[in-house]
């Protein structure tokens, strides 16, 4: 028998039957001596069982056709669902308001190059990151760098975000009012996608890093030595700022 004091974690692991047999025996001895704690732990066990039994029938329901995995594997593509249509409709309705918000932003902030860049990156994110069928045009990184460097008439360096847990999915050339821009898309293990947009700047040749956010997306934009960058992801991703710093650092070492 060890002398380690019983912790609250031990008690919960006891409820979840996740303890080693020896430790479980020690917890049992402890509970025998402490009826108040024993009562609370017994209640937790009962409530755990209650949840399980109440939810059990859900897992026993026959699966609906739309959750047929074999079919999804055969033709992996997104099927529209009622909820998605509802969200799409909501989005359309809120576009008017959003437009107003964007105009407000544009009139308040100096209308410089990186404001436009941030909007282009946000637009690219909205259009391409939500695309389940063909989010990127090219997946091969060598081919991609060659392609976008040709179109942008300058060497483009591919930011590497693997250390931060984001893999390159690929990219494409996207149109802007200021000519072609290179878009790179990344995702992490959870399928969270990020977009990096870069292009030569006509104004704001050098601009400090500035955050921006819309109703659904957020990001950071900056420009160094005539090239602008914007990183955009879903709102609420805390790691955007360090990622932006990382991209900036990598770009400066071209």
């Amino acid at each position: 028998m060890s002398n380690r004091p019983i912790t609250e974690d031990d008690l919960h692991a006891y409820v979840d039957r996740a303890l080693e047999p020896e430790r479980e025996a020690e917890v049992r001895v402890y509970l025998d001596k402490h009826p108040d704690v024993a009562k609370r732990i017994a209640a937790y066990s009962d409530e755990r069982n209650l949840l399980r039994s109440v939810l059990l029938p859900i897992a026993e329901e026959p699966l609906p056709p739309r959750l047929n995995l074999a079919r999804m594997i055969e033709s992996p593509r997104r099927r529209p669902s009622s909820l998605r249509w509802a969200i799409a409709a909501m989005l359309m309705l809120s576009l008017g308001g959003l437009g107003g918000w964007v105009i407000r932003g544009a009139t308040q902030a100096p209308v410089g190059g990186i404001v436009a860049l941030a909007e282009e990156a946000s637009d690219s994110y909205r259009v391409y990151a939500s695309d389940r069928t063909r989010p990127v045009e090219l997946r091969d990184s060598t081919e991609l760098v060659q392609w976008v460097s040709n179109r942008l008439h300058q060497p483009v360096k591919l930011p590497d975000l693997t250390k931060s847990g984001y893999r390159l999915m690929g990219g494409r050339v996207v149109p802007t009012a200021h000519g072609p821009a290179a878009m790179f898309m990344y995702d992490d293990d959870r399928g969270e996608r990020l977009v990096v947009l870069t292009r030569p700047m006509t104004s704001d040749q050098n601009a400090p890093m500035a955050p921006h956010s819309g109703s659904d997306v957020a990001g950071f934009s900056w420009a160094d030595g005539g090239t602008g960058y914007s990183l955009v992801g879903p709102r609420g991703v805390d790691s955007l700022r360090p990622l932006a710093n990382e991209i900036r650092k990598q770009a400066q070492t071209i």
């Binding site: 979840d16 109440v54 939810l55 897992a59 026993e60 329901e61 594997i73 099927r79 879903p234």
Partner: protein, 175 residues
């Protein structure tokens, strides 16, 4: 890909259960599961561990959280299935239905991060380490959330059965 069908198909019922207990709406929950499976098909080769279970729950969990987030930003909300008709169609299950409704309403009073821990650990039998992976937090945080969640649920269940309408308003304000 054939190994995928083998490994993932048996997990779908549990994924549905988790989604439904988390968002409480039948169709919305199945939407999330469908979305989750579609992503899993696309990213199957990129998964990093041999055990697809925590990986799938992580995808699903994040989709659900994104939806909660979107709902907060846009003020969108979906109605809640209080009855869950499909699950309990038979008369014999009447009592279960009442209990389901009551327990779900009380569970819904918990913040969704507590609800998630309670479901992943207590119902889906994920290890603490796997639950930590799914939620993207350290194991210590899983333990403290679990402790708070159990305390809170106990408190809610001990309370006299409150009126359901009140619970619904609560949930809508939160999500």
């Amino acid at each position: 890909m054939s190994d995928m069908l083998h490994l993932v198909e048996p997990l779908i019922p549990a994924l549905r259960r988790y989604a439904r207990a988390l968002v409480r709406h039948h169709a919305a929950a199945d939407d999330l599961v469908q979305d989750c499976l579609e992503r899993a098909v696309i990213h199957w080769e990129q998964r990093r561990s041999d055990n697809p279970r925590p990986w799938l729950f992580a995808i699903l969990h994040n989709l659900a959280i994104n939806q909660f987030r979107r709902a907060t930003v846009r003020g969108v909300h979906v109605a809640i299935d209080e009855t869950n008709e499909d699950a309990f169609g038979q008369e014999a299950a009447q009592e279960h239905k009442v209990m389901y409704r009551d327990v779900m309403a009380k569970l819904a009073r918990l913040p969704h991060d507590q609800r998630a821990v309670l479901l992943l650990v207590g119902v889906e039998d994920l290890s603490y380490a796997d639950a930590a992976k799914v939620l993207g937090v350290p194991v210590g945080t899983v333990m403290s959330r679990l402790a708070r969640a159990r305390e809170r649920l106990h408190h809610e269940l001990e309370e006299t059965p409150g009126d359901l309408d009140h619970n619904i308003v609560q949930l809508r304000n939160k999500t």
